[in-house]
């Protein structure tokens, strides 16, 4: 049996951007599996292991906030960078004032989730000695250590994370949240590195619980 871990994740704001509305951002109603995976990865990630999301429990009601922010609309050109590297000089700056784009966003407020993920060995030492990695995660998560700050969809929405050792005494999922939430992004399929493909699954919530082991993922 591969080890399962549970994290209690909370935050003041969150934005799990829908791909169809990622310019004027609109969030999904709750955390996507890939965003949840990256919370685990921010605590421990090694090439030898992989995180597989098992279950997501939504703990607080879905609340929205509409915010407008200043961002930029341009990216630094890779060709210019290559040229500058070769010639040893060049202008690579991106001027915020010139490239400013105001973007509206419909974000989530005061979110709380309980995330269950399983650690899977992929290669190397993990195949024979997974305990090393589970201990590592156990230690790091219980001390609040992380490689980078766990976040909720966007880097600016930081998450407060707590390792849940046993589910006793933990709050109930939000039972009023029920039903079909349509097709949701599961993760990116990186088997073709040149052309990563999105994978979608049908987000069916049962009394506040999203069971990902049952989800049919289409890529």
């Amino acid at each position: 049996m591969r080890p399962e871990f549970c994290l209690d994740v909370r935050g003041d704001y969150a934005c799990f951007t829908r791909p169809e509305m990622k310019v004027e951002r609109v969030s999904y109603d709750f955390i996507t599996p890939s965003a949840a995976r990256s919370v685990f990865e921010s605590i421990l990630w090694k090439p030898e292991i992989r995180w597989r999301m098992e279950r997501i429990e939504v703990l607080s009601p879905v609340r929205w906030i509409s915010v407008r922010r200043n961002e930029v609309g341009a990216v630094v050109s890779a060709r210019n960078v290559a040229g500058a590297m070769q010639s040893g000089k060049g202008q690579l700056g991106l001027y915020v004032e010139k490239e400013r784009q105001q973007r509206a966003g419909l974000f989530l407020r005061d979110v709380a989730y309980r995330l269950y993920a399983r650690m899977e060995p992929v290669k190397g030492e993990a195949m024979g000695n997974l305990a090393k990695y589970t201990e590592m995660f156990q230690r790091r998560a219980s001390k609040g250590q992380c490689v980078n700050q766990p976040y909720l969809g966007c880097r600016e929405f930081d998450a407060r994370v707590r390792l849940v050792a046993s589910p006793d005494g933990e709050p109930e999922p939000l039972t009023s949240l029920d039903g079909d939430f349509g097709w949701m992004l599961y993760d990116m399929d990186f088997t073709r590195p040149a052309d990563p493909r999105p994978m979608f699954f049908r987000a069916q919530l049962t009394r506040g619980v999203l069971d990902l082991t049952q989800a049919e993922v289409r890529s």
């Binding site: 791909p19 169809e20 990622k22 509409s66 509206a104």
Partner: protein, 587 residues
């Protein structure tokens, strides 16, 4: 979820039993065609019929379901079986004969491409024969040509003599168009991805049709799904591949949204700067759909519709219409606002009807406040927003306020602090607490009470309310009344001079005001009245232990509400003086 819901709405509407309300099927479009060329089966032009009908000052052409038009740019691109006079007849309107010849060729080419799919269709044959001869000369020979020429370069289409449908609507042609519009079964195509609306494998639509009718956006339309700058793309993907949607689903959601946003649509309203559309999940809740706009907006042609709809909603809730399974049907509200050639989602609600009905009912209960007979019982959202804006102008409503209030109404959350703030500010600035502002203040206070339950503000004068701010508001109202009765016809009363200070820093002004009121009382002719009013002052002040140095915003709101309640109360009594003498002094 938004696009999925729109897609489902389209599926519902495309099957609508009423053909007038039916949305166009895939590959078709609802288009205004001012002129129809009437052909005989052998391709002779018999007549040109004018479909335009006067509507106000302008003439408006009839709308027909025609094959979906191509996106026209500067290049030559022809539509199928309908297009402008340049394409159809080869009419040269810009003095560029080569270009017109190209346009005609393009138009015929599309017809020729369709011909094998609809082999031997009489209508199609007639059109091809007509175009093979000299169509322009034939058209110019008709008496109706003058009207066509006057329009410049109008859209034209064809009809067979004696038929109701256009040639492009004939069953055989229609089937051929549909066959051409449906992409060949995908599966082995390397570009195939999962459609995020339907979940089906599909090649993604590159560019989605524009959404028209959002206030403030370009009139030619703007997009919800668009990736018009490099920074918006991911993984090096181009345009629509960033958000894979099948062409059919893209057509469905844009058609549905454009239909909802249309000029004639009863399912749209303006909330602040957000163009808001709404629809029900199921056909059986159509009546809610029809009445929703009237709940928040006063319809210009029927001012009573608002009150009627609110009552209808209350009755529906009371009769248990939204109980049980029926209440689980969802109701969708979508607020759209323009932003830099794109459309942003301002708010989005997909709640069960049960909750929507309950929240709207709560909204009207929150607003309920004592009023004079000429004030409407259920104020409209627009008027409430205007009441807190400078000069009561719609332009001065803070931009996001409407959307925030709407969100609060539908979700049952707290009303935005900005709203209470604006209402209190306007009261102070204009030294007037009208019905609408009192309703706003009461709603804001009620909702914050409900979320942190204490004692809720009442709709009418609450004599036992111990809150100092509320009492001071009442006191101020009585002092003003005393002055008014002592000096009838006064230009400037204490309200004009002291309202702002009294509502924010009571300690500083109430000593002056209470000193003044003794002089006013002494001046009053009617001694009985003076005694009664003095008793009222004593009754109100007895509950105030200490005059606060200053009041915070919610307390300023309470002050305004106390003032409004007391003033309404004084005036109601004044209308029936016989009872006033006995009851104002009461308890």
């Amino acid at each position: 979820m938004i696009l999925q819901a729109l897609h489902a709405y389209y599926e519902r509407k495309v099957r609508d039993p009423d053909p007038v309300r039916r949305l166009p099927a895939a590959g078709l479009e609802d288009k205004e065609i001012p002129f129809i060329l009437e052909l005989s089966t052998d391709g002779r032009l018999l007549d040109i019929s004018d479909t335009r009908e006067p509507q106000g000052k302008k003439k408006v052409a009839r709308r027909y379901l025609v094959p979906q038009g191509v996106k026209k740019t500067s290049g030559v691109a022809a539509n199928l079986l309908w297009d402008t006079a340049e394409y159809v007849l080869g009419l040269d309107t810009k003095g560029k004969p080569e270009r017109v010849a190209e346009q005609m060729a393009a138009f015929r080419q599309r017809l020729d491409a369709l011909a094998p799919h609809a082999e031997g269709d009489a209508g199609l044959e007639a059109v091809r024969r007509f175009l093979a001869a000299d169509p322009l000369a034939a058209a110019q020979a008709k008496p109706a040509w003058a009207a066509v020429a006057e329009e410049g370069n109008p859209n034209l289409s064809f009809r067979l003599q004696g038929e109701n449908d256009l040639v492009c609507q004939r069953p055989a042609v229609f089937a051929a168009i549909q066959a051409a519009a449906t992409p060949a079964a995908a599966g082995h195509d390397p570009a195939t991805v999962t459609c995020l609306i339907t979940g089906q494998p599909t090649p993604p639509e590159r560019l989605h049709s524009a959404i028209k009718g959002v206030w403030g956006a370009q009139t030619s339309g703007a997009n919800i799904v668009s990736f018009n700058l490099d920074a918006f793309r991911s993984f090096g993907k181009e345009q629509g591949a960033n958000a894979p949607v099948s062409p059919a689903a893209a057509f469905a959601y844009t058609t549905a949204l454009n239909h909802l946003l249309g000029k004639q649509s009863a399912q749209r309203m303006q909330v602040g700067d957000a163009s808001t559309v709404f629809w029900a999940q199921r056909e059986e809740d159509k009546d809610v759909e029809d009445g929703f706009a009237a709940l928040f907006d006063e319809l210009p042609d029927d001012p009573d519709a608002h009150t009627a709809q609110v009552s209808a909603l209350f009755n529906a809730v009371r009769s248990g219409r939204f109980d049980g399974a029926a209440g689980n049907n969802r109701f969708y509200v979508l607020g759209l606002a323009p932003n830099a050639a794109r459309i942003a989602i301002r708010f989005w609600h997909a709640d069960p009807l049960r909750d929507v009905a309950r929240h709207i009912q709560a909204w009207f209960q929150d607003l309920e406040v004592v009023r004079s007979p000429q004030d409407p019982p259920y104020p409209t959202l627009f008027n409430l927003l205007r009441a807190v804006a400078l000069q009561r102008k719609a332009d001065n409503i803070p931009p996001t306020l409407g959307g925030d209030v709407m969100r609060a109404i539908l979700s049952g959350g707290p009303y935005p602090a900005l709203w209470l703030n604006a209402a209190v500010q306007r009261c102070r600035a204009e030294q007037q607490v009208g019905y609408l502002r009192a309703a706003v203040i009461k709603a804001c206070l009620t909702r914050s009470y409900r979320l942190s339950p204490q004692e809720a503000p009442r709709a009418m004068l609450d004599k036992d309310n111990p809150n100092a701010a509320y009492r001071l508001g009442r006191l101020f109202s009585v002092l003003e009344k005393i002055q008014e009765e002592a000096n009838p016809g006064l230009n400037t009363t204490i309200r004009e001079r002291y309202y702002g200070a009294a509502s924010s820093t009571p300690l500083a002004v109430f000593t002056t005001l209470l000193r003044l009121h003794n002089h006013h009382l002494a001046k009053m002719q009617n001694r009985g009245r003076a005694v009664n009013l003095e008793k009222l002052v004593a009754e109100i002040t007895s509950g105030i232990t200490d005059f606060p140095g200053h009041l915070n915003l919610p307390d300023q709101g309470r002050f305004a509400l106390g003032y409004y309640h007391q003033r309404q109360d004084l005036f109601t009594k004044a209308e029936a003086p016989a009872t006033a003498e006995t009851t104002t002094t009461g308890d």
